[in-house]
Protein backbone atom coordinates (compact mmCIF):
# COMPACT_ATOMS: atom_id res chain seq x y z
CA UNK A 1 0.00 0.00 0.00
CA UNK A 2 1.59 3.27 -1.08
CA UNK A 3 -0.65 5.65 0.82
CA UNK A 4 -3.81 5.60 2.87
CA UNK A 5 -6.35 8.38 2.45
CA UNK A 6 -7.61 9.66 5.79
CA UNK A 7 -11.07 11.21 6.13
CA UNK A 8 -12.15 12.55 9.51
CA UNK A 9 -15.87 13.20 9.10
CA UNK A 10 -17.14 13.73 12.63
CA UNK A 11 -20.82 13.18 13.55
CA UNK A 12 -22.77 12.62 10.36
CA UNK A 13 -26.26 11.61 9.26
CA UNK A 14 -26.59 7.77 9.49
CA UNK A 15 -27.80 7.29 5.91
CA UNK A 16 -25.02 9.52 4.63
CA UNK A 17 -22.52 7.49 6.65
CA UNK A 18 -23.51 4.28 4.93
CA UNK A 19 -23.65 5.99 1.51
CA UNK A 20 -20.18 7.48 1.94
CA UNK A 21 -18.72 4.12 3.00
CA UNK A 22 -20.21 2.42 -0.04
CA UNK A 23 -19.20 5.19 -2.45
CA UNK A 24 -15.62 4.96 -1.20
CA UNK A 25 -15.62 1.16 -1.53
CA UNK A 26 -16.92 1.38 -5.11
CA UNK A 27 -14.27 3.93 -6.09
CA UNK A 28 -11.48 2.01 -4.36
CA UNK A 29 -12.57 -1.19 -6.08
CA UNK A 30 -12.50 0.55 -9.46
CA UNK A 31 -9.01 1.88 -8.78
CA UNK A 32 -10.33 5.45 -8.89
CA UNK A 33 -9.47 6.10 -5.24
CA UNK A 34 -6.63 4.93 -3.02
CA UNK A 35 -7.27 2.80 0.10
CA UNK A 36 -9.14 4.85 2.66
CA UNK A 37 -9.62 5.09 6.40
CA UNK A 38 -12.68 7.11 7.41
CA UNK A 39 -13.59 8.01 10.98
CA UNK A 40 -17.06 9.21 11.85
CA UNK A 41 -19.83 9.53 14.37
CA UNK A 42 -23.62 9.37 14.13
CA UNK A 43 -25.92 12.37 14.33
CA UNK A 44 -28.73 11.68 15.01
CA UNK A 45 -27.85 8.58 17.00
CA UNK A 46 -28.84 5.39 15.24
CA UNK A 47 -29.22 1.66 15.28
CA UNK A 48 -27.64 -0.18 12.36
CA UNK A 49 -28.60 -3.76 11.57
CA UNK A 50 -26.69 -6.34 9.58
CA UNK A 51 -27.49 -7.21 5.99
CA UNK A 52 -29.13 -10.51 6.96
CA UNK A 53 -31.01 -9.44 10.04
CA UNK A 54 -34.78 -9.33 10.32
CA UNK A 55 -35.67 -5.71 11.18
CA UNK A 56 -38.57 -6.27 13.58
CA UNK A 57 -36.69 -9.06 15.33
CA UNK A 58 -33.71 -6.82 16.15
CA UNK A 59 -35.02 -3.31 16.69
CA UNK A 60 -37.70 -1.80 18.89
CA UNK A 61 -38.98 0.58 16.25
CA UNK A 62 -41.40 2.29 18.64
CA UNK A 63 -38.62 3.04 21.11
CA UNK A 64 -36.42 4.36 18.31
CA UNK A 65 -39.16 6.61 16.96
CA UNK A 66 -39.95 7.95 20.43
CA UNK A 67 -36.29 8.76 21.06
CA UNK A 68 -35.55 9.98 17.51
CA UNK A 69 -33.02 7.19 16.92
CA UNK A 70 -32.53 6.56 13.21
CA UNK A 71 -32.56 2.96 11.94
CA UNK A 72 -30.38 1.88 9.00
CA UNK A 73 -29.50 -1.45 7.39
CA UNK A 74 -25.84 -2.00 6.49
CA UNK A 75 -24.46 -3.85 3.46
CA UNK A 76 -22.25 -5.80 5.86
CA UNK A 77 -23.44 -8.82 7.80
CA UNK A 78 -23.18 -9.08 11.55
CA UNK A 79 -25.40 -7.87 14.31
CA UNK A 80 -27.42 -4.88 15.42
CA UNK A 81 -25.45 -1.99 16.89
CA UNK A 82 -26.51 1.11 18.77
CA UNK A 83 -24.44 4.10 17.56
CA UNK A 84 -24.56 6.73 20.27
CA UNK A 85 -22.56 9.81 21.08
CA UNK A 86 -19.96 7.82 23.01
CA UNK A 87 -18.80 5.80 20.06
CA UNK A 88 -16.32 6.25 17.24
CA UNK A 89 -16.86 4.38 13.98
CA UNK A 90 -14.21 3.62 11.37
CA UNK A 91 -14.42 2.29 7.86
CA UNK A 92 -11.49 0.88 5.94
CA UNK A 93 -11.61 0.23 2.20
CA UNK A 94 -8.88 -1.37 0.12
CA UNK A 95 -8.75 -3.22 -3.19
CA UNK A 96 -9.67 -6.86 -2.72
CA UNK A 97 -6.82 -8.35 -4.72
CA UNK A 98 -3.76 -6.13 -4.40
CA UNK A 99 -2.23 -8.01 -1.48
CA UNK A 100 -2.47 -5.52 1.38
CA UNK A 101 -5.54 -7.30 2.77
CA UNK A 102 -5.32 -11.12 3.05
CA UNK A 103 -7.57 -13.17 0.77
CA UNK A 104 -8.66 -15.26 3.75
CA UNK A 105 -11.61 -13.40 5.24
CA UNK A 106 -11.21 -14.51 8.84
CA UNK A 107 -7.51 -13.67 8.82
CA UNK A 108 -8.25 -10.33 7.20
CA UNK A 109 -10.49 -9.40 10.16
CA UNK A 110 -7.46 -9.89 12.42
CA UNK A 111 -5.21 -7.85 10.13
CA UNK A 112 -7.61 -4.91 9.81
CA UNK A 113 -8.43 -4.99 13.53
CA UNK A 114 -4.73 -5.07 14.49
CA UNK A 115 -4.25 -1.27 14.35
CA UNK A 116 -7.41 -0.85 16.43
CA UNK A 117 -5.98 -3.21 19.02
CA UNK A 118 -2.66 -1.32 18.95
CA UNK A 119 -4.39 2.03 19.43
CA UNK A 120 -6.37 0.68 22.38
CA UNK A 121 -3.19 -0.72 23.90
CA UNK A 122 -1.50 2.66 23.58
CA UNK A 123 -4.36 4.07 25.66
CA UNK A 124 -3.39 1.62 28.39
CA UNK A 125 -5.87 -1.22 27.87
CA UNK A 126 -5.13 -4.92 27.42
CA UNK A 127 -7.18 -5.09 24.24
CA UNK A 128 -7.33 -8.34 22.29
CA UNK A 129 -8.81 -9.39 18.99
CA UNK A 130 -11.35 -12.17 19.43
CA UNK A 131 -12.38 -14.05 16.31
CA UNK A 132 -14.58 -13.69 14.38
CA UNK A 133 -15.01 -9.97 14.57
CA UNK A 134 -14.72 -8.54 18.09
CA UNK A 135 -12.13 -6.66 20.14
CA UNK A 136 -12.33 -7.31 23.85
CA UNK A 137 -10.82 -6.00 27.05
CA UNK A 138 -11.00 -8.34 30.01
CA UNK A 139 -13.32 -10.65 28.08
CA UNK A 140 -15.85 -7.87 27.41
CA UNK A 141 -16.52 -6.43 23.99
CA UNK A 142 -15.32 -2.89 23.27
CA UNK A 143 -15.43 -3.07 19.47
CA UNK A 144 -17.51 -4.92 16.87
CA UNK A 145 -16.56 -5.11 13.20
CA UNK A 146 -18.22 -6.18 9.97
CA UNK A 147 -16.76 -6.77 6.52
CA UNK A 148 -18.06 -7.10 2.98
CA UNK A 149 -16.20 -7.86 -0.21
CA UNK A 150 -17.87 -6.30 -3.22
CA UNK A 151 -17.13 -3.91 -6.08
CA UNK A 152 -13.55 -5.30 -6.17
CA UNK A 153 -12.92 -3.93 -2.69
CA UNK A 154 -12.81 -5.02 0.92
CA UNK A 155 -14.91 -2.72 3.10
CA UNK A 156 -14.70 -3.22 6.83
CA UNK A 157 -16.35 -0.94 9.32
CA UNK A 158 -16.68 -1.11 13.05
CA UNK A 159 -17.16 0.74 16.29
CA UNK A 160 -15.18 1.53 19.40
CA UNK A 161 -17.15 2.31 22.55
CA UNK A 162 -15.70 5.25 24.45
CA UNK A 163 -18.66 5.60 26.80
CA UNK A 164 -22.26 4.45 26.77
CA UNK A 165 -25.67 5.81 27.68
CA UNK A 166 -27.32 2.59 28.84
CA UNK A 167 -30.77 4.19 28.90
CA UNK A 168 -30.88 3.96 25.11
CA UNK A 169 -29.98 0.26 24.86
CA UNK A 170 -33.66 -0.78 24.79
CA UNK A 171 -33.54 0.31 21.14
CA UNK A 172 -32.10 -3.17 20.52
CA UNK A 173 -34.03 -6.36 21.14
CA UNK A 174 -31.06 -8.30 22.41
CA UNK A 175 -31.55 -12.01 22.24
CA UNK A 176 -31.35 -13.90 25.49
CA UNK A 177 -29.80 -16.79 23.58
CA UNK A 178 -26.98 -14.60 22.30
CA UNK A 179 -26.15 -13.29 25.77
CA UNK A 180 -26.28 -16.80 27.22
CA UNK A 181 -23.84 -17.94 24.55
CA UNK A 182 -21.35 -15.46 25.95
CA UNK A 183 -22.12 -16.51 29.52
CA UNK A 184 -23.70 -13.22 30.56
CA UNK A 185 -27.18 -12.13 31.53
CA UNK A 186 -27.29 -8.63 30.12
CA UNK A 187 -25.73 -6.39 27.52
CA UNK A 188 -24.06 -4.41 30.30
CA UNK A 189 -22.12 -7.52 31.31
CA UNK A 190 -21.10 -8.40 27.75
CA UNK A 191 -20.03 -4.97 26.63
CA UNK A 192 -17.54 -2.51 28.10
CA UNK A 193 -16.34 0.97 27.27
CA UNK A 194 -12.97 2.68 27.36
CA UNK A 195 -14.28 4.85 30.19
CA UNK A 196 -15.17 1.75 32.22
CA UNK A 197 -11.84 0.09 31.54
CA UNK A 198 -9.58 3.09 32.12
CA UNK A 199 -11.57 4.91 34.79
CA UNK A 200 -11.33 8.10 32.79
CA UNK A 201 -12.88 9.62 29.67
CA UNK A 202 -11.12 9.17 26.35
CA UNK A 203 -12.07 11.85 23.85
CA UNK A 204 -12.71 11.20 20.17
CA UNK A 205 -9.83 13.39 18.87
CA UNK A 206 -7.27 11.47 20.95
CA UNK A 207 -8.55 8.09 19.80
CA UNK A 208 -8.80 9.31 16.21
CA UNK A 209 -5.17 10.39 16.19
CA UNK A 210 -4.03 7.04 17.59
CA UNK A 211 -6.11 5.12 15.04
CA UNK A 212 -4.69 7.13 12.15
CA UNK A 213 -1.13 6.56 13.37
CA UNK A 214 -1.66 2.84 13.95
CA UNK A 215 -3.33 2.22 10.57
CA UNK A 216 -0.38 3.96 8.90
CA UNK A 217 2.07 1.85 10.88
CA UNK A 218 0.18 -1.40 10.27
CA UNK A 219 0.01 -0.93 6.51
CA UNK A 220 3.46 0.68 6.28
CA UNK A 221 2.44 3.82 4.47
CA UNK A 222 1.79 7.52 5.02
CA UNK A 223 -1.67 8.89 5.56
CA UNK A 224 -2.88 11.59 3.21
CA UNK A 225 -5.80 13.82 4.08
CA UNK A 226 -8.31 13.90 1.29
CA UNK A 227 -12.02 14.57 0.92
CA UNK A 228 -14.35 12.41 -1.14
CA UNK A 229 -13.49 12.71 -4.84
CA UNK A 230 -15.89 14.14 -7.40
CA UNK A 231 -16.73 10.59 -8.56
CA UNK A 232 -17.52 9.51 -5.02
CA UNK A 233 -19.63 12.60 -4.35
CA UNK A 234 -21.63 11.81 -7.51
CA UNK A 235 -22.42 8.32 -6.20
CA UNK A 236 -23.51 9.44 -2.75
CA UNK A 237 -27.05 10.90 -3.33
CA UNK A 238 -28.52 7.76 -4.92
CA UNK A 239 -26.86 5.57 -2.30
CA UNK A 240 -28.21 7.76 0.47
CA UNK A 241 -31.70 7.49 -1.03
CA UNK A 242 -31.44 3.71 -1.02
CA UNK A 243 -30.21 3.53 2.56
CA UNK A 244 -33.05 5.75 3.75
CA UNK A 245 -35.74 3.84 1.82
CA UNK A 246 -38.30 1.63 3.54
CA UNK A 247 -37.74 -1.03 0.89
CA UNK A 248 -34.06 -1.40 1.81
CA UNK A 249 -34.65 -1.25 5.54
CA UNK A 250 -37.46 -3.81 5.46
CA UNK A 251 -35.91 -6.19 2.90
CA UNK A 252 -35.73 -8.88 5.62
Amino acid sequence: MEALRFINDGPTDPYLNMARDEAIAIAVGRGQSIPTLRLYGWRPTAVSIGYFQELEEEVDLGFCAAHRIAVVRRITGGGAVYHGTGELTYSFAAPEFDGAVPRDVQYSYAVICAPLVSALKRLGTDARFRPVNDIEVGGRKVSGNAQTRRFGAVLQHGTILLNLDCSLLPSLRVKKAKLEAKGVGSVAERVTTLEDVLGRRVEVPRLSLLLAQEFGAAFGCPLVDGPLTAEEERLVPALRDRYSSEGWLRRR
Partner: protein, 89 residues
Protein backbone atom coordinates in the same frame (compact mmCIF):
# COMPACT_ATOMS: atom_id res chain seq x y z
CA UNK B 1 -48.34 -22.76 7.26
CA UNK B 2 -45.36 -20.77 8.52
CA UNK B 3 -42.91 -22.11 11.06
CA UNK B 4 -39.65 -20.75 12.35
CA UNK B 5 -36.79 -21.91 14.50
CA UNK B 6 -33.88 -19.99 15.99
CA UNK B 7 -30.62 -21.50 16.99
CA UNK B 8 -27.31 -20.31 18.36
CA UNK B 9 -24.81 -21.81 15.94
CA UNK B 10 -21.02 -22.01 15.90
CA UNK B 11 -19.19 -18.83 16.85
CA UNK B 12 -22.13 -17.48 18.83
CA UNK B 13 -24.03 -16.31 15.75
CA UNK B 14 -27.81 -16.58 15.88
CA UNK B 15 -29.64 -18.00 12.89
CA UNK B 16 -33.39 -17.94 12.39
CA UNK B 17 -35.05 -20.01 9.68
CA UNK B 18 -38.63 -19.22 8.70
CA UNK B 19 -40.39 -21.58 6.31
CA UNK B 20 -43.81 -21.30 4.73
CA UNK B 21 -44.72 -24.75 3.54
CA UNK B 22 -47.46 -26.28 1.46
CA UNK B 23 -47.61 -29.77 2.93
CA UNK B 24 -43.99 -30.84 3.09
CA UNK B 25 -42.82 -28.57 0.25
CA UNK B 26 -41.16 -25.22 0.80
CA UNK B 27 -43.17 -22.30 -0.59
CA UNK B 28 -41.01 -19.58 0.91
CA UNK B 29 -37.95 -19.54 3.16
CA UNK B 30 -36.00 -16.83 4.94
CA UNK B 31 -32.65 -17.32 6.65
CA UNK B 32 -31.85 -14.38 8.89
CA UNK B 33 -29.38 -13.55 11.65
CA UNK B 34 -26.11 -11.89 12.56
CA UNK B 35 -23.87 -14.15 10.48
CA UNK B 36 -21.72 -13.26 7.46
CA UNK B 37 -21.52 -14.75 4.00
CA UNK B 38 -19.15 -13.98 1.18
CA UNK B 39 -20.59 -13.14 -1.21
CA UNK B 40 -23.73 -11.86 0.55
CA UNK B 41 -25.85 -13.12 -2.35
CA UNK B 42 -25.22 -16.70 -1.18
CA UNK B 43 -28.20 -16.61 1.16
CA UNK B 44 -30.67 -15.24 -1.39
CA UNK B 45 -29.39 -17.77 -3.92
CA UNK B 46 -29.92 -20.58 -1.45
CA UNK B 47 -33.40 -19.35 -0.47
CA UNK B 48 -34.39 -19.20 -4.13
CA UNK B 49 -33.07 -22.69 -4.76
CA UNK B 50 -34.95 -24.20 -1.80
CA UNK B 51 -38.37 -22.99 -2.97
CA UNK B 52 -40.33 -25.97 -4.26
CA UNK B 53 -38.11 -28.50 -2.51
CA UNK B 54 -39.09 -31.18 0.01
CA UNK B 55 -37.18 -32.76 2.86
CA UNK B 56 -35.23 -35.17 0.75
CA UNK B 57 -33.75 -32.44 -1.41
CA UNK B 58 -32.73 -29.92 1.24
CA UNK B 59 -29.39 -31.47 2.17
CA UNK B 60 -28.10 -31.54 -1.38
CA UNK B 61 -29.23 -27.99 -2.09
CA UNK B 62 -27.71 -26.52 1.09
CA UNK B 63 -24.41 -28.37 0.72
CA UNK B 64 -24.25 -27.47 -2.95
CA UNK B 65 -24.62 -23.73 -2.37
CA UNK B 66 -22.65 -23.44 0.87
CA UNK B 67 -19.88 -25.68 -0.40
CA UNK B 68 -19.68 -24.16 -3.84
CA UNK B 69 -16.88 -21.69 -3.18
CA UNK B 70 -19.06 -19.53 -0.93
CA UNK B 71 -17.96 -18.68 2.58
CA UNK B 72 -20.32 -18.67 5.54
CA UNK B 73 -19.19 -17.37 8.94
CA UNK B 74 -21.44 -18.23 11.83
CA UNK B 75 -23.11 -21.52 10.96
CA UNK B 76 -22.45 -24.63 8.92
CA UNK B 77 -24.46 -26.67 6.42
CA UNK B 78 -25.43 -29.37 8.93
CA UNK B 79 -26.89 -26.85 11.37
CA UNK B 80 -28.88 -25.12 8.65
CA UNK B 81 -30.21 -28.41 7.22
CA UNK B 82 -31.43 -29.48 10.67
CA UNK B 83 -33.17 -26.14 11.18
CA UNK B 84 -34.96 -26.28 7.82
CA UNK B 85 -36.04 -29.88 8.41
CA UNK B 86 -37.33 -28.88 11.82
CA UNK B 87 -39.54 -26.26 10.18
CA UNK B 88 -40.92 -28.86 7.79
CA UNK B 89 -41.81 -31.37 10.47
Amino acid sequence: MERSTTRRCGGGKLVKVTVRAQGRTIEDIRITGDFFTHPEGTIEALEGKLVGMGRGQIGGAVRGVLGGGNLVIGFNADELILMIEECLR
